[in-house]
Structures are given as structure tokens and as C-alpha cells.
């Protein structure tokens, strides 16, 4: 499937480096995605210069270039901003280009690669939620599937200041709102909260994510812990640096959550180390986003071609 990446910043360039490896997100099979171009708006950007050095077309005409080349492109990975995506997403759809949206614009259905990868393979537009959402929703879902009901889940994401770009900084509410919604809609929690913290320490810290989940009376704690460990392995299939920093623990309350009073909570402490494809390994927040987008793009490509996905391998 022929694809282009729109946006030549950190995310777009990192995704380009991943696609140029030739293997799919699991690293074990060839990718079905053929990268046609990295499209930016600034001819002097580092990302476009790198694309040209690597023999990839690097135009700087932005969304217009995508629409003018609709016949040569089946899929666009949009790594611009929510604002730009909202302005153009209908045009991509009308031009028959599937959009995998890495901005928090949230126009299409949300996909968390480890949870609902195959749910929206025919949708013209897929939203990749947020980096924190990709990191924590799988664990919320992991707890949820071990329970009859998950009344409340919460995530705290701490990223190195250096890896938080201007888009995140100017619109931090979008991050927490979109992430919190994903914890409910895809993670399966009844109520939720998302928190993001920026840490300026030098050397930069690895992306850290903590999931707290309310455990009602009668929960099988061992089943929760087992489910969390199984999910760690599932995410590692496409983000090798995703790991439990400490074993998951069950803490005794009671806790007066927005979903009601519960006797216990599960605490899942995660660290995401990036693959270092473009940005340094501490920027696990960018890596989990690009790895998940690649995973989703490949699943769509296999679906449309009627071939087996790496996800099933």
C-alpha cells in the first residue's frame, strides 16, 4: 500500500525511519507499506533534508501536495496538528485516501493498537489518541477484562520536557481530555481521569506512565495481575521498550473514586523506552505513537489486500 507521511517534525520523521527499515511493526515480516513521500511545509526542515538524503521525495507543499497526488497515495499518516487535520480530513476522505491521524483531532474512531487494532479497518479516518493513551489504555483494558466492571481508571503520564513539542504544550487540555475518553471508550472504564506532567531533569527521563484502577469487592486479584503481565507482552510485540518498571501491585484502601468506593486499587508502573529511530531513547512517548501508527497502517494494508497481518503472526 502506497503511503505518505504529512508533517516533517519529530513524529513524522521518526515514522519515516521506521517505515524505511522495511520490516513491519513486529520486526518479523516485511512491511506492506510503501513510503512515497515525507511531506512538510518548511523546505529547510531537518526531516525533509533527511528524507532526500535517504532517497525519499520530500516536498514542502503540505496538505495540497497530498491532494494533488491522490492517485499515487492510498494512505496518509497525518503528523501535523489537530488544527491542520480538522481543516483537511474531509478532503483526504473525498480523494479516497485513508487517513491515520496522529494528532489529537479525534475525527475518526480511536484505535489503540494493542486493544482494538482490527475494529475499524474500513474506516476512512483513524485517530491514534495520544502517546499516553497508547501507553496506558492497554493496561486499563487488561484490568477491565479480568473484572465484571471497572468503575474508575486513572493514568499519569510523565514525559521529558525535551520530548514535548509545541503542539502538546499549547493545547495540553486536548491531551488529557482525549486520553481520558480513550480510557473509557476503549479501555472499558466507567469513569476516568488523565494527568500529564512534564519533567525537565537532565539527562532527560524515560517516558513514565502509571495506571491506577479501582478494584471492586470480590475482584480476583491474581487474575488482574496475570492479565496485566500478558498485556505487557502484547504491547512489546510492536514497542520493544514497553515494560513494567516494577511488578504490578494491589493496594488496600478504601478509595472513594468517582465510580464509587472500592476496597482496593491496582497500580501499574510503566516505562517506555524509545527505539531511538530518530529521537533519543528517552522519547518513548513519540516512539509508542509512531510504532502504534505503523501497526495500524499495516493492519489496514493487509485487510485491504486480503493478506495476513503481522499481528496474527
Amino acid at each position: 500500500m502506497r503511503c505518505a507521511i504529512l508533517g516533517s517534525g519529530n513524529i513524522g520523521t521518526d515514522l519515516m525511519m521506521k517505515l524505511l527499515k522495511g520490516t513491519d511493526a513486529s520486526g518479523s515480516a516485511p512491511t506492506p507499506l510503501e513510503l512515497v513521500a515525507l511531506v512538510g511545509i518548511d523546505p529547510a526542515s531537518d526531516g525533509l533534508a533527511r528524507a532526500k538524503r535517504l532517497g525519499i521525495d520530500g516536498p514542502h507543499e503540505g496538505p495540497d501536495w497530498i491532494l494533488e497526488h491522490a492517485d499515487d497515495i492510498d494512505m496518509v499518516f497525518d503528523a501535523t496538528s489537530a488544527y491542520v487535520h480538522v481543516r483537511h480530513y474531509k478532503q483526504y476522505q473525498e480523494a479516497g485516501i485513508t487517513a491515520v491521524d496522529l494528532t489529537p483531532a479525534a475525527r475518526g474512531p480511536k484505535v489503540i493498537a494493542a486493544v482494538n487494532l482490527t475494529e475499524h479497518l474500513d474506516a476512512p479516518n483513524i485517530n491514534m489518541v495520544t502517546c499516553g493513551g497508547q501507553a496506558t489504555t492497554p493496561m486499563v483494558y487488561a484490568v477491565r477484562r479480568a473484572l465484571a466492571d471497572l468503575p474508575y481508571a486513572e493514568m499519569v503520564s510523565t514525559v521529558a520536557s525535551k520530548s514535548a513539542g509545541p503542539g502538546t504544550r499549547q493545547n495540553i487540555d486536548e491531551f488529557t481530555k482525549t486520553t481520558s475518553t480513550a480510557l473509557r471508550e476503549i479501555g472499558g472504564a466507567t469513569t476516568s481521569k488523565a494527568i500529564i506532567i512534564l519533567n525537565p531533569a537532565e539527562p532527560p527521563i524515560m517516558m513514565r506512565n502509571t495506571v491506577f484502577a479501582a478494584l471492586p469487592e470480590g475482584t480476583d486479584h491474581d487474575a488482574v495481575l496475570e492479565s496485566v503481565l500478558a498485556m505487557e507482552a502484547d504491547v512489546q510485540k510492536y514497542v520493544p521498550g514497553y515494560r513494567l518498571k516494577n511488578p504490578p501491585v494491589i493496594e488496600e484502601g478504601p478509595f472513594s473514586t468517582p465510580g464509587g468506593v472500592v476496597p482496593h486499587r491496582a497500580v501499574v508502573l510503566l516505562q517506555v523506552e524509545g527505539a531511538g529511530d530518530y529521537l533519543p531513547p528517552y522519547a518513548g512517548n513519540l516512539d509508542i505513537m509512531t510504532a502504534a501508527a505503523q501497526r495500524v497502517g499495516e493492519a489496514i494494508a493487509h485487510h485491504k489486500a486480503g493478506t495476513t497481518t503481522g499481528a496474527n503472526a
Binding site: 499519569v156 504544550r169 488529557t176 481521569k193 506532567i197 512534564l198
Partner: protein
Amino acid sequence: MTTATTDYRLIDSTLRDGSHAISHQYYADDVVRIVKGLDAAGVQVIEIAHGDGLGGSSFNYGFSAVPEKELIARACDVTTNAKIACLLLPGIGLADDLREVNELGVSVARIAVHCTEADITEQHIKVAKDLGMEAIGFLMMAHMNSPEGLVEQALLMQSYGADTIYIADSAGAMTTDDVRRRVNALTTALEVPVGVHAHNNLSMAVANSIAAYEEGAKNLDGTSAGLGAGAGNCPTEILAAVSTKYGIETGVDPLALMDLAEDVVRPLMPRQQVIDRAGLILGYAGVYGSFLLHSQRAAERYNVPQSEILLELGRRQVVGGQEDMIIDVALELAAKHAAQESAGKEAGE
């Protein structure tokens, strides 16, 4: 923003920062009595919110006993002269929260952020200004940035429209010299007034506040009986009394504040604000004050020394809001101790 008759403006945060010390268990009656007491004593601004700001009620920071907006509505109802303020940390609370509390009558919004991350406050400062609120930029953990670095951050907030810029010694880690250098740099560089929010972990809160005033700060924070995160805040009644002794006009009645602290606030307190070992270590290691009670609980839960948890958090340069890292550190210390114990047993066999 001082009136003609006062030398600085006193902002009381008993109902916000004080909330940490009672694990966010304020009830409406407490709010009514404290607001009435502060208002009658002449305090100009009363801050109220979850200790971690609007939207702070959570697993990570502790759930509020009563939804903060109910408490804020009561505060707005009973105040006569004092303005009601709130605090918001972008990343925890939302601009929508500002809109809601503004409807309730809150007229001052303090937008708080780690002292190197001012650019995440643009959205919220602008929303506060659009709502017609006074917007105060609030740079936390100010000991972790240089005077020049703080000026750079404060200028960003000023450019977004902040009416006043505060630095907060959230870890109670600053000496008087540290405060003087920072306030001096800020008052020199900024067009807007400067404020200081002090904590008492090194027993410096009142002295640091007075030093800040001498360097040109026009806003100072206190809490009744020092109720607050860590070893506590600058006690409002002591700051008022000391200011009077210095001949600094505050516009508040120190005796009325002493009555409030003694008769209303102290009886509410599960523990008096003393500088015990854990409190002192916060200031000594430069760790965010609200980690105190969370680290005490983790120490009990995982049977590891609280002081070791706090020292490790200091080494990791953890910032405000990263309370989840307390559990992370406690689990690692517990695993380390268990490994040492089993190694010791083997050696002894």
C-alpha cells in the same frame, strides 16, 4: 495589586495548600468558618481548591471528601470583601474548570506550573483573562531554576497576559539569599508585580517572605496555623504579626488571624505542623512538599524508611505532580532490602 493602605497583598491558601495536610477532607462547614474568619480579619484574597488545584481529586493525589466546586460555591456565598481565588495546574485541571468556577464567583486564577515549563500555561492564562479574571502565573519548585531562568519563564507568562507572577518554594528548600536573588531579578525584569509562596521545611518561611517583601515582592502567601504541604506554609497569623513589628502595613488584623488559627483551624488538624525529620528532609533534599503524607503511607505499606524514599525522589529530580513515583521508589527500596536480607541470611548460614 496592593491597595493604597497596604504594603503588600496577603493571599491565604489555607483552603487550597492546607488541603494537603488534611488529605483533602474539607467539609462545607470548615470552609464557611475559615472564609468568614479570613474575610473578617481583612485578608484580601482567599484561595480554595483541591491541594493539587482544580481537578486534583484523584488516586494520585487523593480524592476530595466533598467535590471542590461545592466548597468553592460556599466560599463565594459567604465572603463579603475578600476575593475568592483558585489554583489550576495545566495537565491536571482543565480550562473548562476555570469557566465553571468563574460562574460560581471565583475572580482570581492562579495558573501553576513547574518553574521551567511556563509555556504550557498560555492556554489557561488566556482563558482566565478572557473570562475577566485576574490571572496569576505561579512558578513552582522555584529552587530548581536560576534567577535568570525564572525571569525567562516569568516573561513568557507576562506575555500571555498574567497580571502577577509568583514564585513558589514548593519544597521549602530556599534560604533567604536564594529568595532575595530570585525576587530581585524578577522585580527588575518584570512589569507586573511579583509574589512569593513560602514553605517552612527549613524553618525559613516567615523570614523568606519578609526578605521577598524587602526585595520588592507585592504579594505574599500564608495559611492559617501554617496548615499545608510538607512541614507547612508561611503561617498567615505569624506573617501578619511580624509584618506589624516591621512597620509593614498589611491591612489585616493579626489578633483576629490568631483567633482563627487557634479556635478554628488547629482543632481541624490531624497533626500540628511541626518540622519533623521527614519535613526537614523535604527542604533539605528539595522534594515537593505534598509528597509528605503520600510517602508516609507508602513507607508503612511497603515497610521501608520514609526518609529513604524522600532522598531517592530528590536524587531523581522528581517534580510536583509525580506522586506515582513514590510507589515506584518504595517498591524498588523494598525489593532492594529483601535482596539484601536474603543475601545476609545466606552469608550467615
